[in-house]
């Protein structure tokens, strides 16, 4: 089924969102966000894939060999760095929240009373 990798990406995206929506623990929600992000990696890399293509590294193979798209690899690299940094920030926020509230339960968090 030639649509399968894209369906996997869509599934991961929705499952990750489901995790965020129903989570009771802040760290769990942050990891679910990483799952959402990994769906974008799969989508990007699947789009650039060429059947029978090798990696776009021409150290051992001559130039002109069929290779996959190097641009999506570069985009995914950027995406991974972005995701790692956002997770780091969110976890730092979670650590401080635990120290201030004593709990990581998302149900306990409410807006400033106005």
């Amino acid at each position: 089924m030639s649509l399968l990798p894209y369906l996997i990406a869509a599934w991961l995206f929705l499952v990750g969102l489901y995790g965020i929506v129903t989570s009771r623990n802040l760290v769990h929600a942050v990891v679910c966000l990483s799952v959402v992000q990994s769906s974008t990696y799969i989508l990007l890399l699947a789009i650039g894939y060429e059947r029978g293509g090798t990696a776009p590294i021409f150290l051992d193979v001559p130039v002109g060999t069929r290779a996959v798209d190097p641009v999506v690899s570069a985009l995914t690299l950027t995406d991974i760095v972005v995701g790692a940094t956002v997770s780091a920030l969110l976890l730092a926020l979670a650590v401080q929240t635990y120290k201030r509230h004593g709990t990581l339960d998302t149900e306990e968090f409410r807006s400033v009373r106005d």
Binding site: I20, S39, V71, R100, V112, D114
Partner: protein
């Protein structure tokens, strides 16, 4: 031209890195000075770019990778007056914010200054870029800086929760944007905006184009805080430190709308042109709902910064209605309105920051009557409220007049009523707050707490006053309306943009600006004055009578459940925000699928 386009991004990044690396040898005062100087330099550079771009689009290919046979190999900055104007606004607001935080702000070593400069660089890069993925990278750069700056007050649990909601919801929005970029790349193999536009123009508006547009729309609407993607905004903006709030309310929310407009006009206006009528309806609906929800929530607040946050939401809705007309006239009005409104909101955030610093609270009820010794601040708040209402000669009036004109020409004259109502609501909330805090109306004065006494510090007052003066100046510059309309016309001209970027064709030069009669058109001026009067009445009404009268009690009983329902919806829960995000995505997606055939 030379190296000018690269500098507004390179300079703040370099200085930010230097501030962190040389932290052991840099004293606080020096860091303040360096940061202010850098922000001012960025503002100046962007203003120079604005002047340069007025003569024709400025296209800068990084690394010298110019396009080959219409295929863009490298990343380009494609600078036009609208983008350069927003970048200049960001520079001005950042300078004001850094001046505000001079001396009295609890800066963490040099880290605060460095992060603010990186934030500024992200905004500037986002506004100047002509490549879709490059826009995404700068979008994430400004977002990551924003998440950290929003959670700055780590001692306050509300601030942390606001930052968490902000970070999670906006990250999901960013991933949606990336998915949209991936879809467009899969179809056309291009990341450059002009090249994408050309690749899509030759094909039909099929399901991939519709869903790619949906993903980009939802992602950018999350940043812009359009209903129902706005639930994160109040907590994040209200609890952020004042200088950060100035930048957030002043320019960051408008960036989402700018991105949507840019992407629509350069990429999607070809294939989606046939369905512009339906698209217009969808976007108008979103704008109207956002404006009304923001306005009503604004009136329900008595936490001053949350009040300003909801005012931001409602004014984003108004800007969206201008953009939704999908024409150069509406776009020009929206841009002018957004810039002037951004300056005014920056000024208001600074004024509220002064109140917070000197009186120790931002709760309107707890501050009743305690602001009597802050006369200048009071003046600035009242003027700001009038500016938000769009009273001439503020720039907001000019922008609104242009939008109303465009709406009337497009057959949507009822938008004028919306502008009046929303302007009245936001002005009312602010005037009521000002009356309570500075004049002590509406009840006995509240108890004072320990806080620095006396008049406001000049480093805090000056930015507030100067930003407001800027908003006034925009309304007073002669011929600005005509030039903005010219810039908007070029913004919406997809083939000319593509030619300029991909073939280096110089711009169409000086087409004659549509002549606008000098002075203020009577019609819009009348409506704006009506809005201000309504706002004054609505704002002062709860303050004047001590005991609720019969009709007041009846209206209160009527509106109480609505207010309670709205409040319970805006409860700041992360799961709720994400659920509403998906609901919004489903709703907009269905509407778009039906509209684009």
């Amino acid at each position: 031209m030379g190296a000018l386009p690269a500098l507004p991004v390179a300079v703040p990044l370099l200085v930010a890195a230097a501030l962190v690396g040389l932290a052991p040898v840099i004293r606080h005062r020096l860091a303040d000075a360096v940061a202010v100087a850098t922000a001012a330099t960025v503002a100046g550079l962007c203003a120079a770019l604005l002047l340069q771009a007025a003569g024709g689009p400025v296209v800068y290919w990084f690394g010298g990778w110019t396009p080959r046979q219409g295929i863009a190999l490298g990343v380009a900055f494609a600078i036009d007056p609208v983008g350069a104007g927003l970048a200049t606004l960001a520079g001005v607001l950042a300078t004001a914010a850094l001046v505000f935080s001079w001396r009295h702000f609890e800066a963490v070593g040099t880290l605060y200054h460095s992060l603010m400069l990186v934030f500024l660089a992200g905004i500037v890069g986002f506004c100047l870029s002509g490549d879709l993925f490059n826009m995404f990278v700068f979008y994430e750069l400004l977002s990551v800086s924003a998440y950290a700056l929003a959670g700055y007050r780590t001692e306050d649990p509300g601030s942390l929760q606001g930052a968490l909601n902000f970070a999670i919801t906006n990250s999901v929005g960013a991933f949606l944007v990336l998915a949209g970029i991936a879809l467009l790349y899969g179809r056309s193999g291009a990341l450059n905006l002009a090249q994408l536009g050309q690749a899509l123009a030759s094909g039909p508006a099929d399901r991939l184009v519709v869903v790619a547009f949906l993903l980009l729309l939802v992602g950018f609407f999350v940043k812009a805080a359009v209903v129902p993607f706005h639930f994160w905004l109040a907590d994040a903006y209200a609890m952020a430190p004042t200088p950060v709030g100035m930048l957030f309310a002043g320019v960051v929310s408008e960036l989402g709308l700018y991105a949507l407009a840019r992407v629509y006009w350069t990429v999607f206006s070809g294939p989606l042109a046939a369905d512009a009528g339906g698209l217009r309806a969808v976007l108008l609906g979103a704008g109207v709902v956002t404006a009304l929800v923001g306005g009503v929530m604004c009136v329900l607040q008595h936490h001053l910064t949350r009040l300003l946050a909801y005012a931001t939401v409602s004014h984003v809705g108004l800007t969206l209605t201008g953009l939704a007309l999908l024409g150069p006239a509406g776009l020009g009005g929206a841009v002018l309105y957004a810039v002037a409104d951004g300056l005014i909101k920056g000024s208001l955030f600074a004024s509220v920051g002064i109140v917070q610093y000197h009186l120790g609270s931002v709760d309107e009820l707890a501050l009743r009557g305690r602001g009597r010794h802050l006369p200048w601040t009071a003046t600035l708040v009242v003027l700001g409220a009038l500016g938000l209402a769009g009273v001439p000669p503020f720039g907001t009036f000019l922008g609104k007049a242009l939008m109303e004109e465009a709406a009337g020409a497009a057959g949507h004259a009822w938008l004028t009523a919306l502008f009046v109502v929303v302007a009245a609501l936001t002005a009312a909330a602010l005037l009521r707050a000002a009356g309570r805090v500075f004049l002590g109306l509406g009840g006995p004065p509240a108890r004072a707490v320990d806080a620095p006494p006396g008049p406001a510090y000049p480093t805090m007052l000056a930015p507030a006053a100067l930003l407001l003066a800027g908003a006034l100046a925009i309304g007073l510059v002669p011929g600005l309306a005509g030039r903005v309309e010219l810039a908007a016309a070029r913004f919406t001209d997809r083939p000319a943009y593509a030619a300029a970027v991909l073939q280096g064709a110089s711009g169409p030069g000086g087409a004659d600006a549509e002549s606008h009669p000098p002075g203020y058109p009577a019609g819009p001026a009348g409506w704006a004055t009506l809005a201000a009067v309504l706002g004054l009445a609505l704002g002062l009404w709860p303050l004047l009578r001590r005991r609720p009268s019969g009709p007041r009690r009846a209206t209160a009983r009527l509106w109480a459940p609505v207010g309670a329902a709205l409040r319970s919806l805006h409860n700041g829960h992360i799961g709720d925000s994400v659920t509403w995000l998906v609901v919004g995505m489903a709703a907009f997606g269905t509407l778009l699928a039906l509209v684009v055939r």
